[in-house]
């Protein structure tokens, strides 16, 4: 038997959150944590969590697993079980809507703030804009983000200033457009990040790198942004990473 301790909170009935322990026979097969949750939900349909693709690409089921953020659907229970227990809590630092479901409004607001879309004022050609493979390679390790929020919600700087510090996920996307040879708003994008909070509240704690389920490296992207802000280094000097982490 294993004990799955789940953070429970239903705003309609609970004044305070509490931990509920579900004892369940340890499955013979090493299933994913999401599947285990689905089994528990068959016993207790009131447990609430988000899920969609169940293969690690949609970013729905980010949660705090034994103190570390990760995706339930690609975390085998063999990795999650510690002393016959699994502790499941919502992603830290965001308001809890119910159980393992957090309100991601602030996280998405930071994403919107960095203008996460290509900006190019020149008239597009009839066909595609050309981009060399070398320039395209600069986007690898950046565009693959699935917006699961594991990184930003593991970041103490984001916990303190979720409204002012852009956070690792959105900064990774800010850099994704700064690094894109087709985007012409590099100066404006950097200017928008030049205040004391947006990017400078990153103190290189590296939690973001430790938890990213896609093995991306927001810390490195943030370093590049800082370097461009401080030294005025140019877009042309960006070098493709051979895998960001």
């Amino acid at each position: 038997m294993i004990d799955v301790n789940i953070y429970r909170y239903n705003p309609e009935t609970d004044k305070f959150p509490y931990t509920q322990t579900y004892s369940i026979k340890k499955p013979e097969k090493d299933i994913m944590l999401l599947e285990l949750l689905n089994l528990l939900k068959e016993q207790d349909s009131s447990i609430s969590y988000r899920r969609s693709c169940r293969e690690g690409v949609c970013g729905s089921d980010g949660m705090n697993i034994n103190g570390k953020n990760g995706l339930a659907c690609i975390t085998p229970i063999s990795e999650a079980i510690k002393n016959n227990k699994i502790e499941l809590r919502p992603l830290p630092g965001l308001p809890v809507i119910r159980d393992l479901v957090v309100d991601m409004t602030e996280f998405y607001a930071q994403y919107d703030k960095i203008k996460p879309f290509l900006q190019n004022e020149t008239q597009p050609p009839v066909q595609e804009r050309l981009q060399s493979p070398v320039d395209r390679d600069k986007l690898d390790g950046l565009y693959e983000c699935i917006l699961c929020a594991c990184c930003s919600t593991s970041c103490p700087s984001f916990w303190w200033n979720p409204d002012k510090f852009v956070g690792p996920a959105a900064l990774l996307q800010a850099y994704r457009f700064i690094a894109d040879s087709r985007d012409t708003k590099t100066a404006e994008r950097l200017e928008a990040l030049s205040d004391p909070f947006s990017v400078y509240r990153c103190h290189g704690i590296m939690n973001c790198v430790n938890v990213c389920p896609k093995d991306l490296n927001p810390n490195k992207a943030i370093g590049e942004i800082k370097s461009m802000l401080l030294s005025g280094s140019k877009k042309e000097n960006i070098i493709a990473s051979d895998g960001m982490s």
């Binding site: 239903n10 705003p11 309609e12 009935t13 097969k29 090493d30 299933i31 994913m32 599947e35 939900k41 068959e42 349909s45 009131s46 609430s48 969590y49 988000r50 899920r51 969609s52 693709c53 169940r54 293969e55 690409v57 949609c58 970013g59 729905s60 690609i74 085998p76 809507i97 119910r98 159980d99 479901v101 309100d103 991601m104 998405y108 919107d112 203008k115 996460p116 879309f117 290509l118 190019n120 597009p124 009839v126 066909q127 595609e128 804009r129 050309l130 981009q131 060399s132 493979p133 395209r136 986007l139 565009y143 693959e144 699935i146 917006l147 457009f177 894109d180 087709r182 985007d183």
Partner: protein, 594 residues
């Protein structure tokens, strides 16, 4: 809990409403965002969690990058042939000829396509692609962003919807269509998953962009959210569904998880075994054995399971044996499969066989539409447009895929027809098109299913009934079909309908109650499953993905047509296939060989 009626719920009014925030829905909304019309995208998940995100290989389109002489007419020929000749040639012509424009637009929006040395978009070869109308060899026509094209496409569309200021109702669940007395669609009943608040979302145009329903089967590559909600709503409202017997399968998906295992495993010498350890393909295909055609292999697997030789506690899968190849070969040639199998089957193929089942992948059928996304119904065999109702993407059957979809054509379908529907709706609404109001009774009627589930004090468990439904569909309507089995399946579904009408929702709470969503999703799954079952039973031929053992041949004399399922009579009618493209000669049906 409170019974909802037209007086105690609020009404939110829009010009256009898009149900679904995947590729097709967000391409439609992008078009409408620029129009100044009041639009909302209603999505049960945050848009980038939609299943488009899982598409990998690419978007097929004759942009003439890999081959400067490529021609959309060649792409059209391949698609017509791939459809086994029941794809509509006017729609396929539109998709293939408009495709390049739609793909270049995506690039201009920032989609990070992979590139050739000359800076143009990278294209790779895919199945069923040819040059010069099948005479010029293999083409490379699939535009790719590495093997994450769906992710790149979905995120790019979401980003550009942010740019254009689109209005999203994220984590809202649409329950049922509202119809006025003239049977026009005037919007939907929906609720906010976060708060539980119910509303009538009133609209002049309601676009179903709700994707597929692969979850009618127990084994599918589809996301958990692919429950055919739009189609379920349309069927409950009495609108027909087209070509529902046409589902695309892959022989080897990992049992339980559905992740794909490449055919390359069998190419390297792996083979399938049943519960008795027998290499059963030797009986079905003495020469090619495990490397027979995918449909043959998948069919043989299902027969083994139906005849009681399936593996595992429930005898509902077979094994793919690889261990005899040795660790060196496996690690060198199939490392990805080894990893996938360890991750999703808990099995290391170096020591143990991988549990596999034929895996449902894509719904070729759906709500019949024209190229503008306008939904059709039929009255006495004559097509009629349903005022106010549109459908795009996998939920729709326009039909560009016919009986079998070619790889890379689904992403093209999403953007071409999402865009087309958006263009049509803004023109139509600006010139005064629209629908009459629904009255109170109409709205109350659309609240029925929600009220019923909310007031259930006893009844059947959602998870149990869902498992039963998926098992019936998997066993009787899989890759391989036979009249006598399907008859049993249709009867079993009759029993399940009783349970579907009497589901028990234990948790009646409002805030983020996912069990309510799952109960309503199951009702949609059931509608799609029933349409699939009846259409499959009644199409007495084999064509494309619909392979019948009791009717092995394609029967052009009787079945060179769409099937149209009538959910009220539960009967199957026939509908003409379009053979009249505007710019090219008709592609006449031929024997389909590759």
């Amino acid at each position: 809990m409170e019974t909802y009626n037209s007086s105690n719920i609020k009404t939110l009014e829009f010009d256009a409403l898009i149900i679904g925030g995947g590729g097709s829905g967000m391409r439609t909304s992008l078009e409408l965002a620029k129009s100044g019309l009041k639009t909302a995208v209603v999505s049960k998940v945050f848009p980038t969690r939609s299943h488009t995100v899982s598409a990998q290989g690419g978007i097929t389109c004759a942009i003439a990058s890999a081959d400067p002489n490529d021609d959309w007419r060649w792409h059209m020929y391949d698609t017509v042939k791939g459809s086994d000749y029941i794809g509509d040639q006017d729609a396929i012509e539109y998709m293939c000829s408009e495709g390049p424009k739609a793909v270049f637009e995506l690039e201009h929006m920032g989609l990070p396509f992979s590139r050739f040395d000359n800076g143009r978009i990278y294209q790779r070869p895919f199945g069923g692609q040819s040059k010069d109308f099948g005479k010029g060899g293999q083409a490379a026509r699939t535009c790719a962003a590495a093997d994450r094209t769906g992710h790149a496409l979905l995120h790019t569309l979401y980003q550009n919807n942010i740019k254009e200021g689109s209005n999203f109702l994220n984590e809202w669940f649409a329950v049922d269509l509202v119809l006025n007395q003239a049977k026009e669609v005037t919007g939907v009943i929906a609720f906010s998953i976060e708060s539980g608040e119910v509303a009538y979302l009133k609209s002049q145009a309601t676009v179903m962009a709700t994707g597929g329903a692969g979850r009618i089967y127990s084994s599918t590559t589809n996301a958990l959210i692919n429950t055919g909600d739009g189609l379920g709503m349309a069927l409950r409202a009495g609108f027909p569904a087209q070509d529902m017997e046409m589902w695309q399968f892959h022989p080897t998906g990992i049992y339980g998880a559905g992740s794909l295992v490449t055919e390359g495993c069998r190419g390297e010498g792996g083979y399938l075994i049943n519960a008795e350890g027998e290499r059963f393909m030797e009986r079905y295909a003495p020469n090619a054995k495990d490397l027979a055609g995918r449909d043959v292999v998948a069919r043989s697997m299902v027969l083994e399971i139906l005849e009681g030789r399936g593996c595992g506690e429930n005898k509902d899968h077979v094994f793919l044996k690889l261990d005899h190849l040795g660790a060196d070969v496996l690690n060198a040639k199939l490392p990805g499969i080894c990893e996938l199998s360890r991750t999703f089957a808990g099995v290391d193929p170096v020591y143990n066989p991988i549990p596999v089942v034929p895996t449902c992948h894509y719904m070729m059928g759906g709500t019949p539409t024209n190229i503008h996304g306008q939904a059709y119904t039929q009255s006495n065999g004559v097509d009629e447009i349903v005022s106010g109702l549109f459908s795009v993407g996998e939920a729709a059957c326009v039909s560009v895929h016919g009986a079998n979809r070619l790889g890379g054509n689904s992403l093209l379908d999403l953007v071409v027809f999402g865009r087309a529907a958006g263009i049509h709706i803004q023109e139509a609404l600006k010139t005064g098109g629209g629908v009459a109001n629904a009255d109170r009774d109409d709205i109350d009627q659309a609240l029925d299913s929600l009220n019923k589930i909310n007031s259930s004090n006893e009844g059947f468990e959602v998870a149990e009934v869902k498992r039963e439904l998926q098992s019936v569909m998997q066993n009787y309507f899989g890759v391989f079909r036979r009249g006598d089995y399907m008859e049993k399946g249709v009867a079993a579904l009759g029993d399940i309908r009783e349970k579907i009408s009497n589901l028990h929702l234990k948790d009646k709470s409002m805030a983020f109650n996912t069990s309510r969503v799952e109960a309503l999703e199951l009702q949609n799954l059931f509608e799609v499953a029933e349409a699939t079952a009846i259409a499959s039973f009644q199409r007495t031929e084999s064509r494309g993905a619909h392979a019948r053992d009791d009717f092995k041949e394609r029967d052009d004399e009787n079945w060179l047509c769409h099937s149209l399922y009538d959910p009220i009579q539960k009967t199957l009618n026939k509908r003409d296939v379009n053979f009249a493209p505007a710019q090219v000669e008709t592609f006449e049906p031929k024997v389909r060989t590759y």
